[in-house]
Symmetry: C2
DNA sequence: GGAAGAAACTTGCATATACAAGTAAAAACA
DNA sequence: TGTTTTTACTTGTATATGCAAGTTTCTTCC
């Protein structure tokens, strides 16, 4: 087994490599579309996850789970949006360990303003790989997330 | 159109969100398997791309293209591996703008040592989502990369 | 009710990623 | 041949990501 054999095998099969590469490609398209808003794809995703909590907001743990994001990463990713006035982070009334994240009115406006840009990026990716492939990709990615949750519950 | 409508739509359909989330999930599994080697998934991927250049090495531009990675990101990602003695970066003899990246003997050894760990992580992901889904995911991700290259060539 | 343990985050540190702007070397061209 | 342009990469700055370790607050169990 030479290092070249190892390299060929990994290059041919590695899912981690492929998903990371595709993420860079796709993220760039979204970033580009969102640039006029001064918002990155990761930030829009985060705001969106916050928005899904509605008026009662989301706890950080819940956001981390929704995004499959480490709590420490989440903690820092919130900062730029908080400083930009898009998010408000308060302590929970009943349990002061918990932080509750909500969109501010400015955040709600930005999310609405982002929708056409998001639609544009989504259409670009769909056109790039074809609608059927986009659907197949979406389904496969959701299987990864579902499997992650299943394993989580088995551990617990 | 309220912000909640926008949020629901993006949460239900966004490919960027999904591919980023899946990348985090999958990368964590690979990182975990590779930890005993002191190597991250991104680093293994990078070493592997370098290895594919064989004895003549790879230029940075070529690596950036293979990995769909910005040249500036690549430039910095090489540093830890270079400092760790796994890579050597030299100027090209005929064109002194170009840098040629090669594995050192230590790098070749590490790559061989990484293969069982990589296999383990690959098996874990495959078991998690099923072999058929893994293959479907791999195929979809490759379509993204192929489409990116197609668009590149159309521009040129 | 006080101590031990658990839960929910934050901070320190390191790598990963990319845009804008800078540098150096080769190629094109006047 | 000398200037201009292009190419290949680096640096400055900012966000993204996660592990280890720390802090605060709640819960549990004597």
């Amino acid at each position: 087994m030479t290092h070249l054999d190892a390299a060929r095998r990994m290059a041919a099969e590695c899912l981690c490599f492929r998903v990371r590469r595709a993420t860079r490609t796709i993220t760039r398209l979204y970033d580009e579309a969102l640039r006029p808003l001064g918002l990155g794809a990761a930030q829009l995703t985060l705001m969106n996850a916050v928005a899904m909590g509605g008026a009662s907001g989301q706890t950080m743990s819940r956001l981390a789970d929704l995004l499959a994001l480490d709590l420490t990463s989440l903690s820092r990713n919130l900062r730029p949006l908080e400083k930009g006035g898009m998010l408000a982070i308060d302590r929970h009334e009943d349990d002061r360990r918990v932080r509750v994240v909500r969109l501010t009115p400015a955040g709600e406006e930005l999310l609405v303003a982002a929708l056409p840009r998001w639609t544009e990026a989504h259409a670009k990716v769909t056109a790039m790989i074809g609608a059927a492939e986009a659907e197949s990709l979406r389904a496969s990615l959701d299987v990864v997330t579902a499997a992650r949750h299943r394993l989580r519950e088995e551990d617990a």
